[in-house]
């Protein structure tokens, strides 16, 4: 069972949604409904699921219904038709009390403009949900402080939100949702109001936090780069309807229609993605002066690799050795790897674009080393890492 299941959800804005709903069900477009019936279509027959522990990013242009969709899930907006199930429970059928309990137990929310209460201190903001829940003063302060620590705001607890920068305010917003200890986070353009550098930091931090927390996250964004970076899957919306659901790779490689294609073509991955954003730390390195064939073999075995980059004491890249050469040299009784060292290596710089890397990697039997100006090794790139980066982290 999926954590969140949205089925045939509609939201029509206006005084008499019934007739407009009929029209939309019969295929009328958002513009037609607006022209003829003077009703707004917020969400049009949306169905999708979010699995436990997954980050799903809902993406679309301004006015495509993202905020409306996410608000239908915790019923800040009442859906006109359709159902939303959370852990199998139909949210649309809950009464007021049940709804409030659900919001407090399962649905933390983070808002675009932070929505911090200006008259409350940081810690009191973070503790708001717990306060409503009826948790006693000492416990809720404790929990709020813990979640503030999680987002790196220890020491700011007694400040007022107005004294904090935008990035810090949004951390408070995040801490407030985390303090509830809800399984689900609804994040409506949570990072959109932040400037690009801080925004990127916050994205990294969310990814880190998610590794520890395994929340189910529904993240709204109008930015494809952000969606690719954060989303396990992406839901693309247009005029209230869902036009495509899939992984970043699906959407980049098989756009469902022109709309998606136009969305996607704005992202020039190969230009934005560079060596340093996809490289990994080398799992093992050999030292030219101290490691013999046996030691090298052992290092490769532990790391589960079949070739080893060799460096000197100053971290300068000297070459590479292969496992089979090492074992032959070892059986010949050699104590040195200099004789089997291959020195005609292909290397790239940190800012080499992904396109060139793909071409280089294509017919290379070993991973690609990333080096700096002094030929010191910075990291390695193998085919898996590159594809992985495109698929899950994408543009950095």
């Amino acid at each position: 069972m999926a954590k969140i299941e949205v089925e045939n959800l509609y939201k029509i804005f206006g005084p008499h949604p019934k007739r407009a709903l009929e029209a939309v069900r019969k295929g009328a477009t958002k513009a037609e409904v607006m022209d003829k019936l003077k009703h707004g279509v917020g969400v049009n027959n949306a169905s999708f699921q979010v699995e436990e522990g997954e980050i799903v990013v809902v993406m679309g242009l301004s006015g495509s219904g993202k905020s409306t969709l996410v608000r239908c899930i915790n019923r800040l907006i009442e859906p006109t038709a359709g159902s939303v199930h959370i852990d199998g429970q139909d949210v649309t059928k809950l009464d007021d009390k049940g709804l409030r309990e659900l919001r407090l137990s399962k649905l933390g929310m983070v808002f675009q403009n932070f929505a911090l209460f200006p008259h409350r201190t940081v810690v009191d903001n973070a503790a708001y949900g717990l306060e409503i829940k009826g948790v006693d003063q000492a416990t809720r302060r404790q929990k709020a402080l813990e979640s503030l620590e999680l987002v790196g705001l220890t020491g700011w607890e007694d400040s007022l939100p107005g004294q904090l920068s935008g990035g810090m305010q949004q951390r408070v917003g995040l801490a407030r949702a985390l303090a509830l200890d809800a399984d689900i986070l609804l994040m409506d353009e949570a990072f959109s109001a932040l400037d690009p550098l801080i925004r990127s930091d916050m994205q990294d931090e969310l990814i880190n936090l998610q590794e520890q927390m395994h929340k189910t996250i529904l993240f709204i964004s109008h930015d494809l780069d952000e969606a690719i970076k954060l989303g396990d899957r992406i839901v693309l919306m247009k005029d209230g309807a869902i036009v495509q659901i899939g992984t970043a790779e699906d959407i980049l490689t098989h756009p469902a229609n022109d709309y998606v294609e136009r969305f996607v073509e704005n992202v020039d991955i190969t230009k934005v993605l560079t060596a340093d954003s996809v490289m990994k730390k080398a799992k093992a390195l050999g030292y030219i002066n101290s490691d013999g064939p046996r030691a090298s073999l052992r290092k490769m075995k532990i790391a589960g690799i079949s070739s080893l980059f060799v460096i000197d004491k100053g971290h300068q890249l000297k070459g590479i050795v292969y496992a089979e050469d090492c074992s032959e040299a070892a059986s010949r009784g050699e104590r040195d790897i200099k004789s089997i060292l291959k020195t005609d290596l292909k290397t790239v710089q940190a800012d080499t674009p992904a396109m060139d890397i793909i071409n280089l990697l294509h017919d290379l039997p070993y991973p690609l080393a990333v080096v700096d100006d002094m030929n010191r090794i910075k990291g390695v790139i193998n085919r898996g890492a590159l594809l992985g980066a495109i698929a899950e982290r994408g543009v950095n």
């Binding site: 800040l76 409030r100 808002f111 929505a115 609804l186």
Partner: protein, 280 residues
Amino acid sequence: MIEIPRIPLGQGIEALIEWLVDHFAFATKAFSKVMETGLTALQSALQFMPPWLFIIIAAALTWWLTRKRGVTLLTLFGLALVWNMELWAATTSTIALVIISTLVAILIGVPVGILAAMYKPVDKTVTPILDVMQTMPAFVYLIPAIPFFGLGKVAAIFSTVVFAVPPAIRLTSLGIKQVPRELVECAEAFGSNRWQRLIKLELPLATPTIMAGVNQTVMLALSMVVIAAMIGAKGLGGEVWKAIQRLEMGNGFEAGIGIVIVAMILDRVLQKVGSRKNGK
């Protein structure tokens, strides 16, 4: 020529008031009782105090509230001048009336404002009434006060409250409605019920606006208390009224200056308090 019958609007209103007077005597009696008790207590407290003590306390209070030397000196010398003009009893009587009327107006206005912000139907009923109330000349409020309470201070309080209550209602309601939508959504998303949303979010954020409403209410109350001298409010307004009837220009002006002094002190102090709240 066709004769259009005159619509008996005045008669209708008269009949309505008579009916109200007959059927709500218990309420008007209770109101009178409470007001008279409160007013007597407050007035005797103010008059029991030697004027110099009152002036020092008032100046100290002004300093504490505003931290402004000018306003504090205004309070000090202004009230001293009033004392010197032998208007002390009239002034304290006026101040007592303003205080009581303002309290009642706030006690009615703030809750009604809250209800208007919370419930559309209340808002729809209250708004047109307030519109009419605020365009009606102040004198008109004196008329119904008399059948209900007779001539005297209670009638003065009644018409003052009616005259001074609109800004308290309006600005309370406005302050609550002005709370940003995202904050309201946030309160809801975190499980608050309507009451919690009001107490924990809306009222704190509306406080500066509500305070602005209170300022206006106080100033309106002062102006009305002066006018209400015509129906027996006495005080500074009464002095002016007496002077007019006897054509004593000097006395009239002195009482007028007394009113201006009280008004200026109240205005400056309240403005300062309001802006300090706003600045936070």
